[in-house]
């Protein structure tokens, strides 16, 4: 490979490279109007089936990054490529529609994807069973617990049948026990459906518990500060010494990133 080739490779990934990745983020920069820079030159490649956790303190633009990948926002510079289906997105709030039952919420996602009415019923059953809510399909969101709602939201996201699942702090509002259980569930379901997951969180242990790789973002503007490979085999326990050891290391880096802002004048 010549020098010129390698340079070109850096800026214009060839099609083979794009096709082999589930998500490509290249030099992504975002500012809203004339406001401050939110994201600065972020580049990420997520392999198919990879579980990537994006970690950062407040103001690192984690949510903006997911919105850009989901196509809800347009980048100021750089580009995002998600080959295949549109990615699905899950939020911190389940955001289920309260006028629909759990099954109908999942059914709406199928309907909007163009699944036939006859086939929808089977798929709803299958998805409810996948998130272990068999028999709860007729319940309305307000009749479900927080953890159950988030599982319905996960089933709805999976109903979009996209290969890429974007998750924006989906378990942040849940109690610790429920969160632990949902970590196990997410690990299991991800293996079953083989999806690529981009998971945004500010919880270091959660990132190490779940991710194959953890990307640490700096704040204001968001930049990739560090990347950590998590070599711990699944299933992991969040309280295991391996998870704790790596969490300590990443937390140190995160704290260093946050401390840098103590010197910077606040606006």
């Amino acid at each position: 490979m010549t020098v010129l080739d390698s340079l070109r490779r850096r800026h214009v990934p060839d099609t083979a490279e794009v096709d082999s990745a589930a998500v490509v983020v290249d030099g992504l920069t975002k500012r809203f109007g004339r406001g401050p820079l939110i994201l600065d030159d972020i580049s990420l490649r997520v392999a198919p089936g990879e579980f990537l956790c994006i970690l950062g303190a407040s103001g690192c633009g984690k949510s903006t990054l997911l919105n850009l990948i989901a196509g809800l926002e347009q980048p100021t510079a750089g580009r995002v490529a998600v080959p295949g289906h549109k990615p699905s997105l899950m939020f911190q709030e389940p955001a289920l529609y309260p006028w629909l039952t759990a099954a109908e919420n999942i059914g709406l996602a199928l309907k909007l994807r163009g699944v036939d009415k006859g086939e929808r019923k089977d798929q709803i059953e299958r998805l409810l069973s996948l998130v272990r809510l068999d028999g709860a399909g007729a319940k309305r969101p307000h009749e479900l617990s927080g953890g159950m709602r988030q599982r319905v939201a996960l089933a709805r996201a999976l109903a979009q049948d996209s290969q890429v699942l974007l998750m924006d702090e989906p378990f942040a509002a849940l109690d610790a026990i429920t969160r632990d259980v949902l970590h196990d569930e997410l690990t299991r379901i991800r293996e079953e459906v083989g999806a690529t997951v981009l998971f945004v969180t500010h919880n270091v242990r959660e990132a190490v518990r779940l991710g194959d790789r953890v990307v640490l973002l700096s704040s204001r503007p968001g930049r990739v500060a560090n990347t950590f490979a998590v070599g711990i085999p699944q299933p992991r326990r969040i309280e295991s010494p391996e998870v704790a050891a790596l969490s300590v290391e990443i937390t140190e880096h995160l704290r260093t990133e946050i401390r840098r802002h103590a010197q910077a004048p606040t606006r």
Binding site: S88, F91, P98, L112, S145, R188
Partner: protein, 285 residues
Amino acid sequence: MTTATDGNRELEAGLDALELGPIEARRAWWRRALSGGLPPIVAMLALLGIWQLIVSTQHPVNLPTPSEVGNEFQAQWDLGRIQQAVGNSLYHGILGFLISAAVATPLGVLLARVSLLRRSFRPLVTGLQSLPSVVWVPAGILWFGLSARTLFFVVLMGAIPSIVNGTISGIDQVPPLYLRVGHVLGARGLTLARHVLLPAALPGYLGGLKQGWAFSWRSLMAAELIASSGSLGLGQIIEDARNISSFPGVIVGILAILVVGIAVDLVFFSPLERRVLKRRGLLTA
């Protein structure tokens, strides 16, 4: 591994059961009817008692006794005037309300979603809503004469701004997250409106419709009082009684208007609103 998964399944089932709590037994229907129906009935009887008391103390107030009003009602009922007036007024009121809803709903959606239209017309709509609809009666008479069209005109001018405003605030109250989820699920434009925006706006919209009915009914009564259109209405019963200085007759008219207004709410709007709110978990008990 299998046991771990099974253990997890049980753990999850346990968590779900604990979070949901025990199912509370429903109270017997007669208890619910009693606790719901008794307080207003007692309040009514108390008011009747106070009325009787005022009259029987020979207070120098020109007020008929409850029994005089009852007799007058009986007399009018036997003549068939009450039934006819209630029928005509309800017909004009409900038809006028339905036309208003049909006109105001798309207008409201348009004003809620198109920023320029909203900034241009919202102040006017709010102004019209606070305008007493009786001011439209003279204009209606000049345009349409003493006819049913005048009644409809006044009802429409009274109800449309109120329903437009209700629709706008219903749509404004839709959490933006619902729309973002709709976007992520692939809904755009009319599909988004049909599956997300309109169902989400329904509780606020129903509130607007309810208020719209109240405005329709009041506007109609104002119009009937002034512009007797040939078909006997409740407003005209009051006006006729005033012309022959029959105080009991005036009170019969007022009470009939009140009762019909309450009845429409109790029979139609309240159950509908309760149903919608209850399904969404916005109503406890």
